[in-house]
């Protein structure tokens, strides 16, 4: 039965369902037990499933991912939590050199069904290392799948699918959307994990985004509609693989594309989208693919983050520039 719940709660319910359904599923990370995680996403899970399955780990990210790999080799399906985006880098070596490559290295003999949950993105007024969007650093690595839900329902189902996947999945959770509520129906038939979704139909321009920026793009489309511009909004949902067919279909209709993400524009996922869509839709495009995102500067102190993050006006500005071609 459908129920309205916050994204954090939806992920909690999804983890609970997975723990319940499969004794091999484990949840592990720093403070995921009694505390329920710093965002309470794992609230109550240790109480119900025990310390052996919901594991408070030592404070060492490489150790968390490295032991999760070992547990996966033993037949477990660990879901690990990295507490914040900027803390994933001690584990980056294990993720890139081992987690991503071991299946290929073994010529397909071993599988590593590990989910790495990373609360990511800014807009919450945090201190340094708590607001970053490093998804491109993972999408660049063959062997990893990278997804990011934009709403509670997707968060619930994409987590189910990520845990069922035999590939490692980096699961980016937009922390500033944790408390946004949406209908979640545990009996629904979910969309495939790596398919994009049109969340608003339009004819004049396509806005493509994922995670925290989908909501912003919907607001942009609302504002543009008041000016008589009909924008299509595409929730990409998956960063690796990217659903280029869906982007292409939309762009062939609207002939204009603006990609929005919090991550720095330089070498970001928008760059890859721009290059490939230019190749696929060269004769359809009326304007170059534009990107709105972070600058080539360290994520700024909280008092400046509104300057750094894409907002309504910056995206509208890009929309205007595109339409002006």
């Amino acid at each position: 039965m459908a129920e309205k719940m916050a994204m954090a709660k939806a992920i909690n319910e999804s983890l609970r369902r997975a723990l319940d359904a499969d004794p091999k599923v484990l949840v592990m990370g720093e403070d995921v037990g009694k505390l329920g995680g710093v965002f309470r996403v794992t609230d109550g899970l240790q109480k119900d499933f025990g310390e052996s399955r919901v594991i408070d780990t030592p404070l060492a990210e490489s150790g968390i991912v490295g032991t999760a790999i070992g547990l996966a080799l033993r037949g477990y399906r660990p879901v690990v939590e990295i507490q914040f985006d900027g803390f994933v880098f001690p584990a980056y070596d294990q993720i890139v050199t081992q987690l991503a490559k071991m299946h290929a290295r073994s010529l397909g003999k071993v599988k590593l069904p590990v989910v790495v949950r990373i609360p990511y993105g800014g807009g919450i007024g945090a201190v340094e290392h708590h607001s970053e969007s490093p998804e491109a650093l993972f999408a660049h690595v063959a062997g990893l799948k990278v997804v990011s839900p934009s709403n509670a329902s997707d968060a619930y189902w994409m987590m189910q699918q990520a845990i069922q996947s035999d590939d490692p999945v980096i699961f980016f959770e937009p922390k500033r959307r944790y408390w946004d509520k949406a209908e979640v129906d545990p009996e629904a038939i979910p969309a495939p994990l790596h398919k994009a979704r049109v969340v608003r139909e339009g004819t004049d321009l396509t806005l493509a985004a994922y995670g925290p920026m989908v909501k912003l793009c919907q607001e942009v489309a609302d504002a543009a509609a008041e000016e008589g511009k009909h924008l299509e909004v595409l929730d990409l949902r998956s960063v690796s693989p990217l659903d280029f067919d869906a982007i292409q279909a939309s762009v062939e209709k609207t002939r204009r594309l603006v990609v929005v993400h919090e991550a720095p524009v330089f070498f970001g996922s928008g760059a890859e989208i721009a290059a490939r869509i230019t190749e696929r839709c060269f004769y359809h495009l009326e304007a170059p693919v534009l990107r709105v995102g972070g600058y080539h500067a360290p994520y700024p102190p909280a008092r400046l983050e509104e300057e750094y993050l894409p907002d309504l006006d910056r995206v509208l500005d890009a929309v205007d520039r595109s339409l002006a071609y």
Partner: protein
């Protein structure tokens, strides 16, 4: 061939029963052990407190604590250990030669470390799981991995040519120390399953500096994971001596993590067998991790690309050659009449046959199909890989008119 049965017949000893005896071990549980810790840490690091059962001269010496683990060993089993070491060395020499002949791109020789690897490898049970570095050819041999399978990655036809679950011998790991965490996680899984198997993680003195190794000590201690950390201190991390990695003998690091560490003569196959059996038994009994430092020497180069003459002298190598692991067991077998001329002659012939088999296997090893590069990137597939494979196929097909490409 296996000597597993000999010590397995011995009654299991408890940790308490082992306290208070001599040996280079830093203990953490039990009161008597604390006393011994003080004594051994007070020793100079230049005076390694080795567990040794067989001297370089091939003389069997008693050891109050570890004799029990090899007490029932038969002459046949001793010959088996000798055979393992000789064949491993022969295989290793063949691989080095094949690199020189251009058949392999690289080889990492285990020359000098045969006792550490055969002794520890033969201490494992089939249901145990082994996580090697990239130099554990002797351990692979003990686990039943065909030596020719090790060569694929060094020839460049794959990045790991065996099924890790076929012999519970994981793929070689090239990034230093990463596998210590995999071993720890695997051991955590064994504990969750309630199984009595154990895990052994291999790494070297250089890897002891890696954060992953430190973190694996932490995790295994906190979760009491059934894992043995088997550190082959071969004195050199490419060109850097152990002094560049540590101020204390490596086995003493275990103390800070709350589990025992022991230094064993890594050129003494009997001592390595005994100490590893003890450590694996601790793991099986729920007593958690152990660090074994096998004090040995890399007699060859780091790899075939290395030039040790730039950083170390002949005297050191000659001193260690006198402590050769194979030589000392040879002396012992002869002196104790456990092996005759016929045995050594037969083994010589078997060695040559192995060399020939390896040589022929490598030369016959085909290059992989070019489309293999797109295989097994993902278990469940990936749209981009599919797209790029199709593009690659179309590109290849464009040469078809030119008579193949």
């Amino acid at each position: 061939m296996t000597v597993e049965s000999s010590a397995a017949r011995k009654p299991r000893r408890t940790a308490a029963g082992k306290a208070g005896t001599t040996g280079g071990k830093t203990g953490t549980t039990g009161t008597k052990r604390t006393t011994r810790t003080t004594r051994s840490t007070a020793k100079k690091s230049t005076d390694p407190d080795l567990v040794q059962l067989l001297t370089p001269e091939g003389k069997r010496v008693e050891h109050a604590e570890y004799d029990a683990y090899v007490a029932g060993i038969t002459p046949e089993e001793l010959r088996g250990l000798y055979r393992d070491m000789v064949l491993t060395r022969r295989f290793d020499a063949e691989a080095t030669a094949l690199q020189r002949q251009g058949e392999l791109g690289l080889w990492a020789s285990l020359l000098g470390q045969e006792a550490a690897q055969i002794g520890s490898g033969r201490a494992t049970r089939p249901d145990d799981y082994v996580f090697p570095t990239y130099r554990e050819h002797g351990v692979a041999w003990c686990r039943g991995v065909d030596p020719t399978n090790l060569l694929g990655m060094f020839r460049g036809v794959n990045n790991g040519g065996w099924d890790p679950n076929g012999n519970n011998f994981h793929l070689y790991t090239i990034v230093i120390g990463s596998q210590a965490l995999h071993a720890t996680g695997y051991a955590m899984g064994i504990a969750k399953d309630g199984a009595d198997s154990a895990v052994i993680a291999y790494f070297g003195d250089g890897a002891s500096s890696q954060g992953d190794v430190a973190e694996s000590f932490t995790f295994s201690a906190v979760y009491n994971a059934p894992v043995v950390f088997f550190c082959q201190n071969n004195q050199w991390a490419i060109s850097e001596p152990t002094e560049k990695q540590t101020r204390v003998p490596l086995y003493q690091r275990a103390q800070g993590y709350g589990f025992p560490g022991v230094r064993v003569d890594g050129n003494d196959v009997l001592a390595c067998l005994a100490v590893t059996k003890w450590a694996l038994e601790r793991a099986r009994n729920g007593e958690g991790p152990t660090l074994v430092e096998a004090y040995t020497y890399r007699m060859g180069a780091h790899t075939t690309s290395d030039d040790p003459t730039r950083y170390r002298g002949d005297e050191e190598r000659l001193a260690w050659e006198a402590k050769d692991p194979i030589l000392r067991l040879h002396r012992y077998l002869e002196a104790s009449n456990h092996a005759d001329e016929g045995f050594f002659a037969e083994l010589e012939a078997e060695s040559e046959a192995l060399g020939k088999r390896v040589r022929e296997a490598v030369r016959a090893m085909p290059d992989p199909d070019r489309f293999a590069l797109f295989e097994n990137v993902y278990a469940d597939g990936h749209a981009l890989v599919d797209e790029e494979r199709a593009q690659f196929a179309a590109y290849q097909a464009s040469f078809a008119d030119e008579g193949g490409h």
